[in-house]
């Protein structure tokens, strides 16, 4: 199927997944609400002419990714990562998919609760996904049931603290507590420090 712009592809994608129909919003307004079944949890953001982010509920994520891979030609899993939005209490998984035929990217984003977060594994769709999932399990504590070697430590060794990439983990405090900071090194909040260096009068 031929799509001129990434918006058309997205609307076709929403049609196929049955998650709802694209509303009246257009590309210039970045957030276009999706009317329909799961309107609350679903929205899309078109970042540029070849990059868009869509957000779907966790239980539909794997569906959508398989649809994109099999029916829309997004055959390349660029990366899979998570970002911690602690104030809203969610991890946001980002599956970045790339289409070699159209050279478009679609980032499928999924919100997971921060505690006891679990996501379906996609290690059977892409081989390298298992590695990404091991890293997420280790760095964020997100579980991917069935992913191979998911419980083996990937990067850290003998780590017994909270997963380091969570935002509640303070790396500076941990470093000062664990390693031996050489005395004489003082650190400052850059804004305040440079302000009093550069504009002492203010």
């Amino acid at each position: 199927m031929k799509y001129e712009k990434i918006e058309e592809l997205l609307s076709a994608m929403w049609e196929k997944t049955g998650l709802g129909r694209l509303g009246t919003g257009t590309a210039d307004s970045p957030e276009t609400a999706v009317t329909g079944a799961a309107a609350a949890a679903v929205h899309q953001q078109i970042q540029s002419s070849d990059l868009a982010f869509v957000k779907v509920p966790a239980d539909r994520g794997r569906h959508l990714i398989m649809d994109l891979r099999d029916h829309f030609g997004f055959t390349h899993l660029v990366f899979l990562t998570a970002s911690d939005y602690i104030e809203s209490g969610v991890f946001t998984l980002t599956y970045m998919l790339h289409s070699y035929t159209r050279h478009w990217d679609i980032g499928v984003q999924i919100d997971l609760p921060r505690e006891g977060s679990t996501m379906e594994s996609i290690h059977d769709l892409w081989a390298q996904a298992a590695t990404y999932q091991r890293e997420l399990r280790e760095m964020f504590g997100i579980d991917f049931p069935g992913s191979p070697r998911i419980d083996e430590p990937f990067i850290l060794e003998g780590w017994d603290d909270v997963p380091p990439m969570r935002r509640e983990f303070d790396t500076k405090e941990y470093s000062e507590r664990t390693f031996f900071p050489r005395p004489g090194r003082s650190t400052n909040d850059p804004a305040g420090y440079m302000r009093q260096k550069l504009y002492p009068k203010e």
Binding site: I155, L156, P181, T187
Partner: protein, 222 residues
């Protein structure tokens, strides 16, 4: 050196307890426990006196065999060091792939906790006298990664360091200067850090155990 002393005093007792507790494990322990290998206490090897030791030190200073272990990003400048631009082999510097035969250990930049375990094991497999060159500001005070949760801040709390080469990253000329400085130290008989490691073994081990949670090494089939 005062904090050195105090730290050592502080750590003495806890370390003894730990080691006595470990002595009860027979042979190789399970994962999570400490393996006895890494606590084999080295002996202080007294150097000879007078002209003999001077002669031997001269030989040691002029044949520095570097362990081929690129622990950090400093390793990328060790290759130009051995090529025609800065030909370190003129100074008797040669690479050696196995710690048993190497006499100089270059810690190239930051050392993550996972690498530090291998660094310590390789260092303990090297034979006395052995020398350590700390490369880059990361080994001195953590450098760019001073607040990272995975890189150490001060290398000299875990293994004794003879020469520090500052910079991020240090130029090959700086590394050559570090080698020359090390040669001066060796000729002057001041590079006895291996014996210092043996003397302050408990202090070093305590610092190492503080961050390296389990010592079980990968299981070989030998």
């Amino acid at each position: 050196m005062s904090e050195h002393e105090t730290n050592r005093q502080l750590e003495q007792d806890s370390v003894r307890e730990v080691m006595e507790a470990m002595m009860t494990y027979p042979g190789k322990a399970d994962a999570g426990d400490t393996v006895l290998f890494c606590d084999a206490r080295p002996k202080v090897e007294k150097p000879y006196r007078g002209i003999i030791e001077k002669f031997l030190n001269w030989a040691r200073a002029n044949s520095l065999w570097v362990l081929g272990f690129g622990t950090g990003c400093g390793a990328i400048e060790l290759r130009p060091l051995m090529t025609s631009r800065y030909d370190a082999s003129r100074f008797g510097v040669a690479g050696r792939p196995t710690p048993r035969q190497a006499s100089v250990f270059i810690i190239g930049g930051y050392a993550s906790v996972k690498t530090l375990k291998r660094i310590i094991r390789s260092y303990e497999q090297m034979q006395n006298p052995k020398f350590v060159i700390g490369l880059g500001s990361c080994t001195i005070n953590g450098g760019m990664y001073w607040d990272s949760y995975n890189t150490i801040n001060r290398l000299d709390h875990y293994i004794p360091v003879d020469v520090y080469v500052t910079g991020c990253m240090p130029r090959p000329e700086a590394i050559l200067a570090g080698f020359v400085k090390l040669q001066e130290l060796i000729r002057a008989g001041k590079a006895e850090k291996a014996n210092e490691y043996a003397e302050n073994f408990d202090w070093y081990k305590a610092n190492q155990k503080k961050i390296i949670k389990n010592w079980d090494m990968p299981d070989y089939s030998w």
